[in-house]
Every structure is written in structure tokens, then in C-alpha cells.
């Protein structure tokens, strides 16, 4: 009798949410960062410097356009640029433009030079070396100007 009724009794319906097992899992549900090589990181840096330069150009066009509004306003803004904070900002600008320009040449060579893709890592090393040479030449002299040397 009990066997017969066992077939008709419906099993308890499981809740929509099952209990999750306890796991000693690292808190990284998004997945690990893709471990790309020089190519990927040069692209990331190229994108960051590119966006930074875009915002500089935006501000630069606005402050230059001020001369059409009134020369006094233009002079006032340009004088603001002569503070040490803006001087450090200019250093950052040269850092960004230096990398973006040199790496841009590297990307052009990868796309247009038939053996470019083969030497992309070597070219990245050359870009970094030229960048360092550029900054070693520029930074001390620029900081002397900014901090009144």
C-alpha cells in the first residue's frame, strides 16, 4: 500500500535557489587579467596617452579661442599656466606626447613595413629607449624653468 502511494506522492519541489557549497575561492569573480605581452601593454599606454592628449588639445583650443573674446582674458589664462602645478602638467604632456608619437611610428611600421610585425618587440625597446633619451634631455631643463633655475 505504501509502495503504491509512494508513486503518487510528488517529491518536494526544490526551491528556485539551491544552497551554494562553501568554497575557499579567491575573490575574483570577474576573471583574471589577460596577461598580454609588450604588444598589449604598449597599446594600453598608447590609448591612455591618446585620451590624455585629446583632453589637452580640447583645453588648448578653448584657451587659444579666448583671444577672439578678449586679449585680456587670454593673457589672464596664459599667466595661470606659469604656476609650478601647470609646469608639472606640461612635463606630463611631453611624457604622453613623446610616447604616443614614437609608438605611433612603431605602429605605422608594423602596418606598412613588410617585416614590421616580425620586429615589433625590438621596435618597442627602441621606442622606450628613445623616449627615455627624450625625457632625460627635457626634464631637468624644463624643471629649471618651472622652479626658477
Amino acid at each position: 500500500m505504501s509502495e503504491k502511494s509512494a508513486g503518487t506522492v510528488s517529491a518536494p519541489q526544490p526551491d528556485k535557489k539551491y544552497p551554494l557549497p562553501k568554497l575557499s575561492a579567491p575573490k575574483m569573480p570577474r576573471g583574471t587579467l589577460y596577461r598580454g605581452n609588450t604588444g598589449m601593454w604598449s597599446w594600453v599606454l598608447h590609448r591612455i596617452t591618446g585620451v590624455a592628449i585629446f583632453f589637452f588639445l580640447l583645453v588648448h583650443i578653448l584657451d587659444t579661442a579666448l583671444v577672439r573674446v578678449s586679449p585680456e582674458a587670454y593673457n589672464a589664462v596664459i599667466n595661470q599656466y606659469k604656476t609650478p602645478i601647470m609646469g608639472l602638467g606640461e612635463l606630463g604632456l611631453v611624457v604622453a606626447i613623446g610616447f604616443h608619437a614614437l609608438n605611433g611610428l612603431r605602429i605605422i611600421l608594423i602596418d606598412f613595413w613588410s617585416v614590421g610585425p616580425r620586429y615589433h618587440k625590438l621596435m618597442f625597446v627602441v621606442v622606450i629607449l628613445l623616449w627615455i633619451v627624450l625625457l632625460v634631455g627635457f626634464t631637468p631643463r624644463h624643471l629649471m624653468h618651472v622652479f626658477g633655475g
Binding site: 569573480p29 589577460y34 604588444g39
Partner: protein, 251 residues
């Protein structure tokens, strides 16, 4: 709960020394989980074992619900591409001795394609863009004999014939992660294979398809694809050659 595999002694003392490796696998069961979660497994392995062997041991001895694709298990079919320690690799071609076993080994599904379960992703978008470049011989002329091709002409596209469509390249591409519309490296590699084939007459069609906004011009030369390719195809080089062919207007 202890697993019997951990305590087991090596068969012979002078045999190759086995070790216990920890694999941390990013798991996702669509019927239970709302978010993927990480789960770790200890597996006893030999240095000559591959990551695929580790996954097999887990599935067969510890947790049968672990889900992953594999068919030939010898690097030919291209079903078991996954992210191993943050890089796209074939599990069947990655030896344990080439990984740092003192640290846990992270295994997760390839990125940029919809996650279905554990290490399995939906490959439909990948194969759709593959099909879109018309990866087959388009020849209008019907020769009386075979289509002749010199060794030099065959050599021109030899590199891109090696593709096994494992999606390791496409799912390593940062552009593809953020913009699924991009054809992706694998589709361009397979277009390259026919664009530069002297027997093929459909090059112009494929160059027009790839001259699209979402075509080859989305390539930002990050070289992730070239480093991920388990067949050693110079993927970025192939994409650059297609770019140049589009600008020339002919292969």
C-alpha cells in the same frame, strides 16, 4: 573530505616524481550560479602531464560536474582552448612542467564569448564571423585538368592554412572583448588563406568584406593573437598583409 589521489604514493621511487598541483578553476553553472565562482582542486600529477590530464583527473575522480570541451586531445581539433594562468592556451598542449607549480594554476574559459557552463563558451559568434569571410575556394574557371600551383604560390599562404579554429586568437583580442562586432583574428586568418591563394578568384569579394568598419581596420596590433596561437601562426602579420592588400586593391 580528503581525496584518495592526494595520499597515493608514486608507483616506483626512481620513477618520475609526481607532485600535487592546485588548480583554481572558474566555474559557472547557469542553473545554480548567478555569477561565475572560483573553485580549487588538488590533483596529483607528473611533470609530463598536461593541463587537460589534470582536468580529466578532476572530472573522473573528484567532481564529475566539471564541464569542458575536448575531442582529439592532441592539439588538432581545437576544442579545448582556455585561459591558463591568464593566457589563452590549448589545455592539451600545455605541459605541467612549463607552468609554475609552486603557485596555483588558474584555469578559466576564453574571454569575449558568452559563457555557457564552466569552461564552455558559446562559439556561434565566432563561427558566424568565420563564415562571413567566405572561407572556401571561389573559382569561376573550370579547368580541364587540375588547378596548377607553383611551390612559391603555395608558400605564399602556407602559414594561414594551419588554423584549427580553436578561437584562442580571437578571444585574446582586446578589441574583440569590447566589441563583438569585430571579425576577429581567426576570421581574417582564414580569409588570408584564400585571398592569397593563386587558384582563388574571390579575393576581391573578401577584401571588400574585410574593408568594413568592423573589418581589418579594427586591429590595433596588440600581438595577443600571435602569442596565443597554438599553431604558431603569425596572425598579426597575416592581418597586416590583408590591410596592405586592401590598400593596393589586389592581393
Amino acid at each position: 573530505m580528503s581525496t584518495p589521489t592526494i595520499e597515493r604514493e608514486p608507483v616506483a621511487a626512481d620513477a618520475i616524481q609526481s607532485f600535487t598541483a592546485t588548480l583554481i578553476i572558474r566555474r559557472f553553472d547557469p542553473e545554480v550560479d548567478e555569477e561565475p565562482r572560483w573553485e580549487d582542486f588538488d590533483v596529483e600529477l607528473f611533470p609530463t602531464d598536461r593541463v587537460l590530464d589534470a582536468l580529466h583527473k578532476i572530472k573522473w575522480e573528484q567532481d564529475g560536474s566539471l564541464t569542458f570541451r575536448r575531442s582529439c586531445a592532441h592539439g588538432v581539433c581545437g576544442s579545448d582552448a582556455m585561459r591558463i594562468n591568464g593566457r589563452n592556451r590549448l589545455a592539451c598542449k600545455t605541459l605541467m612542467k612549463d607552468l609554475d607549480i609552486t603557485k596555483p594554476i588558474y584555469v578559466e574559459a576564453i574571454k569575449g564569448l558568452p559563457l555557457e557552463k564552466d569552461l564552455i563558451v558559446n562559439m556561434d559568434p565566432f563561427f558566424e564571423s568565420f563564415a562571413a569571410v567566405q572561407p572556401f575556394l571561389i573559382a569561376s574557371s573550370k579547368p580541364d585538368k587540375e588547378r596548377r600551383q607553383s611551390p612559391a604560390e603555395r608558400e605564399r599562404f602556407d602559414d594561414t592554412t594551419k588554423c584549427i579554429l580553436c578561437a584562442a586568437c580571437t578571444s585574446s583580442c582586446p578589441i574583440f572583448w569590447t566589441d563583438g562586432q569585430y571579425f576577429g583574428p581567426a576570421a581574417i586568418v582564414n580569409a588570408h588563406r584564400f585571398i592569397f591563394d593563386s587558384r582563388d578568384d574571390g579575393s576581391q569579394v573578401r577584401l571588400d568584406i574585410l574593408n568594413d568598419k568592423e573589418g581589418v581596420w579594427r586591429c590595433r596590433t596588440t600581438f595577443n593573437c600571435t602569442e596565443a596561437c597554438p599553431r604558431g601562426i603569425q596572425v598579426t602579420q597575416a592581418i597586416a598583409e590583408v590591410k596592405q592588400a586592401i590598400m593596393r586593391g589586389k592581393p
